[in-house]
Symmetry: C2
Subunit: 208 residues, 2 copies
Amino acid sequence: MILRLDDILSLEKYYRRNLINSISGYKSANLIATHNEEGQSNLAIFSSMVHVGATPPLQGIISRPDSVPRHTLENIRETGFYTINHVHEGMIEAAHQSSARYEGSEFEATGLTECYLGDFPAPFVKESKIKIGLALKEILPIQLNGTYFIIGQIVYLDIADDLVKSDGLLDLNAAKSICVNGLDEYHLPQKLARFSYAKPDKPLIKSL
Amino acid sequence: MILRLDDILSLEKYYRRNLINSISGYKSANLIATHNEEGQSNLAIFSSMVHVGATPPLQGIISRPDSVPRHTLENIRETGFYTINHVHEGMIEAAHQSSARYEGSEFEATGLTECYLGDFPAPFVKESKIKIGLALKEILPIQLNGTYFIIGQIVYLDIADDLVKSDGLLDLNAAKSICVNGLDEYHLPQKLARFSYAKPDKPLIKSL
């Protein structure tokens, strides 16, 4: 199938939405938890988390336009803090349900458990085995389509001990972390191989 | 394991790099192909592709600082065009090898095949089953760490016909598209379930 820009823009709306949300390949699925100034919590699934840097530890997410209320974006602006919580195989249904437009807290509605850790001001998802607390650093408006690129610094990490390998890499297979295709299709990955640092004149060392 | 910002910044460098590159969960792995004004092609693996919007179809990638030469970033700036090419199971070793610092073209060095499609000005990777041609729309500098958020509009798509489902979603399992953990660990996902659009007062419909 060959499509040019005009063809893409002429596609039926839901077909285009599925295709373009799928075109980047697999994405991580994470629950972002926040609360507003009145203490009302919010939970929403995002598939747009992206590594910005390791030193300092920065992560980005894309938020859709705030032409309609976006509680996650509003709460991050109000409080300056949010958490990112990995979705594992046992949580996919509740995590997907968090995308419904609830009046109250998605924690209550989905059965996921709100918890506070240390003195970190935003709520975490208790069921997640990999929990990340972030402080807002910058919101970059994307004029092209009214979205926002939200950059936060990791200031708190709570990870189940058996998930961290000796060199710092997380054992995502053991965590049963999932990934998502498009907006609604969930997948469980299985390790194929790990490769050594690539150099021009050396063959890669492969480990299983 | 609980780590605060000070703990993270005190970690040994490679341990921190692995941990923070792994913390977002699984990421897509894509080959970005470009050429410079002299026609010299370049190929590099990226795991930072992120959906920015479907209408118009926009995708973002993070480029590391240009304090050392970054051919992908330079070529995108020079020519305004680049391609994103999915990595499948049979390509992981060559794709990973593309991250080595070659003097010449990574196509020759890795054995992947450079090809041109239609009148699109940048090269594609022939072996990829999902090929995306983009026109540069905006480069947002991220002052926090000197990286860049590169946003492109999809203007050309070439996808193997049997990979597009009737509603537009790609069949990434059939494509054997892979995902990556951290910088060097490759995984093959398998579908768990697809869920209906979530609404507050309706149970999800699950399909396998």
